[in-house]
């Protein structure tokens, strides 16, 4: 806040010097004002983290290169936020700045309370009456000059197009008010807030490098361990008997040609065992395509679509349903004395894989088995023309 009298003076001067006559402000309807308030609050929410980042960057810069040789008393004279965004954001930014300075004594700025500097005072003299803050009043500054050396810190944050820009300056509190230190820090809307730990600040470049290292450090090969449940649809009509659900334990390798992991491929082997019912082995390959962006995130869930193929061999008393002819109860009872059947068939599947961070995932898929397209023991979960997806699978994956 500048000297009130000076503000009035400047306003009067501008009003007088501008050639055009003053215009009355356009009346704004109450609903429009409410909408403006809502939008202002929304924008303030969005820029708050960016503003915090800029303040962190400022304090980090001071910690690495203190502006004073020794700890120096500084008055936080002014914090301003983008025009039109209100004082709520201003208070938040001011509090964050004070907290960051308190956490980082290496910055060398000791915030002090100076009522004479920040309070609005009235001073009358031969030239007239001056109403304003102490930091703007030469007479107040002359009185302060006899005390310990002090500086005033001014921080201004403004939204300039797509960028948020912080301008900070330190002014020595003496009648000449020299600016002893100044810095401009710019951010951009496209750069997400870093949310740095306030007790261990790091530069934006360092934070970005850590992120890139995390991306690149994953390597091209992952080892997934997967638990899969394949369920087979019962036939909707007829006397067929669907196979029981198969629980598979699978492991193998998952490969990615680039660190971005937009495309990945996997090859896994699996084994399934149910006492007195069945056993099975499986080889399966898949290709995944990232749907949520172009780069696999380390911080938020990502969704992949995949297609794949599997070769499955199963044996045991419970696998007789893998045949075209309907399996009746008599067939099951009659087969008790025979050798357990053994089936080898292939499957084509497609599905969605939700990856939660770098190590966990959950997926669902539909599988068609061309070998048993006409089987009377299998219904279909989904059908596209003559293509029937007879099996539905769910799985959870842990990657190492």
């Amino acid at each position: 806040m500048a000297l009130l009298s000076r503000t009035v003076t400047l306003l009067a001067l501008v009003a007088g010097l501008c050639a055009a006559p003053a215009r009355a402000a356009t009346p704004v309807q109450a609903a429009q004002e409410q909408e403006l308030l809502r939008v202002r609050a929304e924008v303030a929410d969005q820029v708050q983290l960016l503003a915090y980042d800029l303040v962190d960057e400022l304090v980090l810069g001071w910690s690495q290169a203190p502006p004073f040789a020794a700890p120096t008393a500084v008055v936080l004279a002014q914090v301003t936020v983008p025009a039109g965004l209100g004082t709520g954001l201003q208070a938040l930014v001011e509090n964050h700045l004070v907290a960051a300075l308190a956490e980082h004594p290496a910055a060398g700025l000791q915030l002090v309370h100076c009522p004479a500097c920040t309070a609005v005072v009235v001073r009358s003299g031969p030239e007239g009456t001056v109403l304003g803050r102490g930091v703007d009043d030469p007479a107040v500054l002359a009185e302060l000059a006899g005390q310990a050396q002090r500086h005033a810190l001014f921080v201004d944050i403004e939204a300039e197009g797509a960028s948020l820009v912080l301008r900070a300056r330190l002014t020595r509190l003496e009648p000449d008010l020299p600016i002893t230190w100044a810095r401009t820090i710019s951010s951009a809307a496209g750069v997400p807030a870093l949310l740095r730990d306030p007790t261990a600040l790091k530069t934006a470049a360092q934070a970005r490098q850590e992120y890139l290292d995390a991306l690149r450090g994953r390597g091209p090969v992952d080892v997934p361990v997967r638990l899969t449940l394949r369920s087979y649809k019962r036939p909707s009509a007829g006397s067929g008997t669907a196979p029981p659900p198969f629980l598979w334990l699978q492991t193998g390798v998952e490969l990615s040609p680039t660190p971005a992991r937009a495309w990945t491929g996997s090859l896994v082997l699996g084994y399934s065992y149910m006492p007195q019912a069945y056993q099975g082995i499986l080889a399966q390959t898949r290709v995944h395509r990232l749907l949520t962006g172009r780069v696999r995130s380390t911080t938020r869930p990502d969704l992949y679509a995949f297609v794949g193929a599997a070769a499955i061999q199963v044996w045991g008393d419970a696998v007789s349903s893998f045949q075209d002819e309907a399996l009746s109860t008599a067939d099951i009872l009659g087969a008790a004395d025979e050798l357990p059947p053994r089936r080898l068939f292939g499957g084509l599947h497609l599905g969605l894989d939700l990856r939660l961070g770098p190590h966990l995932g959950a997926a669902g898929f539909l599988e068609l088995m061309p070998e048993y397209t006409d089987s009377e023991n299998l219904g279909s979960y989904f059908r596209i023309g003559d293509v029937r997806f007879q099996a539905f699978g769910t799985e959870v994956t842990a990657c190492f």
Binding site: A2, L3, S5, R6, T7, T9, L10, L11, A12, L13, V14, A15, G16, L17, C18, A19, A20, A22, V39, V43, V47, L50, T80, P82, A83, G84, L85, E127, G128, V130, D136, P138, F154, D156, E158, A159, E160, G161, A162, S163, L164, V165, R167, R169, T171, D176, L177, P178, I179, A182, R183, T184, S186, A188, A189, R208, L212, L215, R294, V295
Partner: protein, 212 residues
């Protein structure tokens, strides 16, 4: 079937947004709020890692670059257009004003200590312009003071009656006694309430001069 193909061909440019163009996902107003810049491939790979594929070691088959578009932080219409015009380019305008001020300094003698004032219809915007100009001058190696020379109310009243071309030099005559030795006052102003182009003048002991 032919109709399906024809509809697909007609809708393809609308559905497939290859660049910042109006379509189903973005209307014209949203598009106008974007600020786009073309980046060379090296800069795009450096600034948008993972989103732009680096060039191949033996070169690409075509010249590639990236178009980066960002949304304005403050939606259009939230601030008065006159203020938005100044604030959206505050840094660039302050840099230009600082450069003009430095270029106006006489070569003989030591460089001055700059005092800065900004006179715009909105005091908050004027203060931001003043701060940005101060920091631009500091960035150019100039000594800058936070002090502001004053005008008394009766001086303002007298100056307000004059046309701008005469008023500012007269204001400088009133400010000059308050300037210390080696100090110069940079005044940033608009001549009309509705104009967005900024003018600047230099006030020093030798008098007022417009900066071009």
């Amino acid at each position: 079937m032919e109709w399906v193909l024809l509809a697909g061909l007609l809708l393809a440019p609308v559905l497939a947004r290859l660049g910042p163009a109006p379509g189903l996902g973005m209307d014209r107003d949203e598009l106008r709020a974007l600020q786009c810049e073309r980046l060379a491939l090296e800069a795009a790979v450096r600034e948008e890692p993972g989103r732009v594929r680096p060039g191949r070691e033996r070169g690409d088959y075509m010249d590639r670059s990236a178009l980066r578009c960002r949304q304005d932080l403050v939606p259009p219409g939230l601030r008065p257009p006159r203020d938005e015009a100044v604030l959206s380019t505050l840094g660039a305008q302050a840099q230009a004003l600082g450069a003009r001020a430095v270029a106006s300094t006489p070569r003989a003698g030591p460089p001055p200590t700059w005092l800065v004032q900004a006179h715009l219809p909105d005091p908050a915007v004027a203060e931001k312009l003043r701060v940005a100009t101060q920091l631009a001058l500091v960035a150019q190696g100039q000594a800058v003071s936070d002090r502001r020379p004053l005008l008394s109310p009766h001086q303002v009243e007298a100056l307000a009656a004059l046309p701008p071309a005469q008023a500012w030099p007269e204001a400088c005559r009133a400010w000059a006694p308050q300037l210390g030795p080696g100090e110069a006052l940079l005044v940033v102003l608009v001549l009309d309430r509705d104009e967005t182009a900024l003018h600047a003048g230099r006030c020093a002991a030798e008098g007022w001069s417009w900066l071009s």
